[in-house]
């Protein structure tokens, strides 16, 4: 309740939270709300400009663009959520483990995440697509793996500070095993920062799904996806420029609202970060550390 009250104080964040919820609702009900069949090809009705029958026009194959944009919302949401689940399922246990055990485990894991974070997502994704093949599954594995280091870091950070708490010490004294301590005492601390991180990751995943699909390495036709629709629209840009409107706006709205909701969530759940937040937020997305953090790591203090 307290959370909702302080979240709703941010009017912009609240508005875009509703936009995001609306987009999720569209994604959930996509099969039932498309005005016509998004796969029905009719070359005679190709490249119609927007009209009452086809609000966003029809593409070069005569398919209704609005229906395809709606179905693409579902495809994208599915991929983004699955990638987040994948990254969380791999990254959080790993991060908790290395954070709790410390020592060599921690050093090795941090080195590897450091190196992984240097590379842009698209490059990691391309490597994985080569192996997994261009497909929805390929995108999910690629995105999930590429953002896994971020989740390792968050989980590790929380674990590092939580394991100093008195209740953990008490649990150790009482003879609890380390998996028990991780699950019973440290896990409850982690859910909030992970939710924030997941929300901040959502727009990144949506953008990269679209980018990979634009390049032909992601969602394969005829399944609609915004980036892939833009790629098809570019082929007929001179005769039907209106085809880029639908997918562009949908993509923009989704990414914008996810970004704003993520920022607001972070501010609401993590008031300590306020002010400093923006300065570091951007750098964090690049996986960078502040000079102070680097220096303190050198000295070995967390």
């Amino acid at each position: 309740m307290e959370f909702l009250r302080s979240f709703s104080r941010d009017r912009v964040g609240l508005f875009f939270a509703f936009v995001l919820l609306a987009l999720f609702a569209v994604a959930l009900t996509a099969q039932w709300i498309t005005p016509s069949d998004p796969f029905r090809i009719s070359l005679r009705q190709g490249m119609r400009p927007p009209s009452w029958a086809n609000w966003l026009g029809t593409d070069q194959f005569g398919r209704d663009v609005l229906s395809r944009v709606i179905l693409a919302t579902q495809v994208t949401t599915k991929i983004a959520l699955a990638s987040i689940l994948f990254a969380v399922a791999l990254g959080v246990p790993l991060g908790m483990f290395v954070g709790y055990r410390g020592g060599m485990w921690d050093a090795v894991a941090m080195r590897i995440t450091d190196i992984m974070l240097i590379f842009p997502i698209i490059l990691l994704a391309i490597v994985i697509v080569v192996v997994a093949g261009p497909s929805e599954q390929g995108v999910i594995i690629a995105l999930g793996l590429s953002q896994m280091p971020q989740f390792i870091r968050v989980a590790r950070g929380v674990t590092l500070s939580a394991k100093e708490e008195l209740y953990v010490e008490a649990a150790i004294a009482a003879g609890a095993s380390w998996p028990g301590i991780l699950w019973r005492h440290i896990w409850p601390n982690i859910s909030t920062p992970i939710i924030v991180q997941a929300t901040l990751t959502l727009p990144v995943f949506v953008l990269n799904t679209a980018a990979l699909s634009y390049l032909g390495l992601g969602v394969q036709p005829p399944t609609p996806e915004w980036g892939q629709m833009l790629n098809e629209a570019k082929e007929v840009l001179t005769s039907a420029p209106y085809l880029i409107i639908g997918p562009s706006i949908a993509l923009f709205l989704f990414v914008l609202s996810a970004n704003l909701v993520g920022d607001t969530l972070q501010e609401t759940l993590n008031p300590k970060l306020k002010g400093r937040r923006q300065a570091m937020m951007g750098l964090r997305r690049f996986g960078a550390k502040t000079p102070a953090e680097r220096a303190s790591e050198q000295k070995g203090t967390p």
Binding site: I118, I122, I126, V130, P203, L207, A211, L230, F286
Partner: protein
């Protein structure tokens, strides 16, 4: 220190190539069949298998590949039969041009807008810049790029839209990529500058009666430089990542497009070499950032 770093780059490159070699040999499918084509006879496939050494044990293949790489021989392309190194190196230069120009554009724009925005914190100028950069972050390059192609290339017919024949070809790709990076950078430059302008030495300077523009340029900016350097260093890597998509949009004959094309045609020698060169560039950039760091802030040493 620099020699140690160079050693690290060589080690990282070696590990990366080994990793890629192992990864690409896990791909299901017979490489000899891939090379020979679907309709090839058994004899042809067998002779290719022998000629390429696919019948030898994996560690022999690995040893051969690595010893050739050391001598600068990355094999030949599966399709054009040209040596891979020549193809890749000619593309590296084109990508470097594109990314560097885009980066210069982004740095100039973001430093100007970010500093102005921070100086006039809360003004309508600040609000415009903040909203503008947020919108920029949410518009991926394939949306702005296609819109730019339509408006400036097709509708106004001012600029060429593909290739890199003359200086006019550079305008659209560089500005599209540069604007996206500038949007990311501006947000962070702004918050770093707001941070710096809130420091006590700024208050002292104001009390001394130093002109406001001088405070911004000579007091705040140099002090905001450390995080900004990290940002630009890592941002350069991400500009290179962004060039993968830009090159596909504008038919730019660079490394990124080469990589995407060879993924789609499964030309493994080219993929391996282009990922290798991309990765070496990223690692080198990261190293340069670290060195710049110690140069700008002598308190930090590695």
């Amino acid at each position: 220190m620099i020699i140690g770093r160079m050693g690290f780059i060589i080690l990282a490159g070696f590990l990366l190539l080994s990793f890629l070699f192992a990864l690409f040999h896990m791909i299901p499918g017979d490489p000899a069949v891939l090379l020979a084509g679907d309709n090839a006879s058994k004899d042809v496939i067998e002779s290719i298998r022998g000629a390429y050494g696919f019948d030898r044990p994996l560690y022999v293949q690995y040893g051969t590949y690595m010893s050739h790489v050391v001598l600068g021989d990355f094999g030949v392309s599966n399709y054009s039969r040209q040596p891979v190194l020549g193809i890749v190196l000619s593309r590296v230069l084109n990508t470097a041009q594109l990314a560097t120009l885009a980066m210069i554009f982004a740095v100039v724009v973001s430093l100007t807008l970010g500093s102005l925005s921070a100086t006039f914190w809360g003004s309508s100028l600040d609000k415009t810049v903040t909203v503008g950069s947020l919108v920029g972050i949410c518009l991926p390059v394939f949306v702005t790029g296609i819109a730019g192609i339509y408006f400036f290339g097709v509708y106004l017919e001012w600029l060429p839209i593909a290739g890199m024949a003359s200086w006019a070809n550079y305008v659209l790709p560089v500005i599209t990529l540069g604007t996206y990076q500038a949007a990311i950078f501006t947000r962070m430059v702004r918050s770093c500058m707001i941070d710096a302008l809130g420091k006590e030495f700024v208050i002292t300077a104001r009390a001394k009666g130093v002109a406001e523009w001088r405070i911004v340029l000579t007091h705040a900016l140099p002090n905001a430089f450390l995080p900004i350097i990290t940002l630009f260093g890592l941002g350069f890597g991400h500009t290179l990542g962004g060039s993968v998509v830009i090159e596909s949009i504008f038919n730019w004959p660079g490394l990124g497009r080469l990589m995407v094309e060879s993924v789609l045609t499964r030309d493994l020698p080219i993929i391996q070499a282009s990922i290798f060169f991309f990765a070496i560039i990223f690692i080198t950039l990261n190293m340069l950032v670290d060195i710049l760091y110690t140069w700008f802030d002598p308190r930090i040493s590695y």
